[in-house]
Amino acid sequence: MSRQSAEAHPSTRLYVAIAVILAALTALEVMVFYIEALAPVLIPILIVMMAAKFALVAMFFMHLKSDGPVLTAIFAWAVFIATAIVVGLMAIFGKFAG
């Protein structure tokens, strides 16, 4: 299988570029954490950056962008149910109240 999909997969240069973005996002996350002025919006900013890193690894390192939609469907379905249950449980335990 390797020949064809090797060409379909992103090149080494793209992999390195993704890694640089991931590293930069991580640095940014930690910087945001230390900036007092951003404290009120810290949670949404961090969640967005976390989701961005998650998506980059899944799409490029795990090749979901170029692989079959079946795999994306399986993963997205599981992430959706898991997220829904985490958020649902947190809501039931009053984590979003006030």
Binding site: A6, E29, M50, V57, M62, G68, L71, A78
Partner: protein, 189 residues
């Protein structure tokens, strides 16, 4: 060996993705528990007394970079560049080991500071959540080690790219979980 599949995806790769789906629920439940119990700890020490953000940022960076090594190993084995395959596999495993070393240091430091597993609600949730992740990293390191031994024996080439790819999927998933844990445990402390 096995014939063409109905979806065109090899069985083992589909199985790994399915397993990853199931693992989402495993870590989802652990994360939900951690988040529900956040701020409910009644007995010191508390998370902000102990969590060391600069230190964990370094090990997080190491684990992120191990994912880069992993894709480079896959790219190398796909173009049948066996020397590069061995190098990148070894580096991936090494970075994984550095991460585990960091976790060992962190855990023993916490215990030393008065936070054994049975201390309080924070110790229970923290150690079981990050420990489960650490066990996954350790399993991945062992897996990468077997691939490395096969590569050194000359038994791993472009025909086995799928095997490397599947190990890589597992490795990246473990990395993805850490991306979430890093934010939720350390930055949202």
């Amino acid at each position: 060996m096995e014939g063409p599949t109905s979806t065109g995806i090899p069985n083992r790769k589909l199985a790994m993705w399915t397993f990853i789906g199931s693992e989402c629920m495993l870590f989802g439940t652990l994360i939900a528990t951690y988040m529900i119990y956040r701020g409910r700890n009644l007995v010191p020490p508390y998370p902000h007394d102990l969590l060391n953000i600069p230190f964990i940022t370094v090990t997080t960076f190491v684990l992120l970079m191990s994912s880069l090594m992993m894709v480079l190993a896959l790219a190398a084995v796909q173009r049948n560049d066996l020397r590069a395959t061995k190098l990148w596999l070894a580096l991936t495993a090494l970075f994984g080991l550095i991460f585990l070393g960091g976790q060992y240091y962190e855990f023993s430091h916490f215990v030393h500071e008065g936070l054994p597993l049975s201390r309080n609600l924070f110790s229970s949730t923290f150690f079981v959540l990050t420990g489960t992740h650490g066990a996954h990293v350790a399993g991945g390191v062992i897996w990468l080690g077997t691939l490395l031994v096969r590569a050194i024996d000359g038994k791993l080439d472009a025909r086995h790219a799928e095997t490397v790819e599947i190990a890589g999927l597992y490795w990246h998933f473990v990395d993805v979980v850490w991306i979430i844990l890093f934010t939720l445990i350390y930055l949202l402390v």
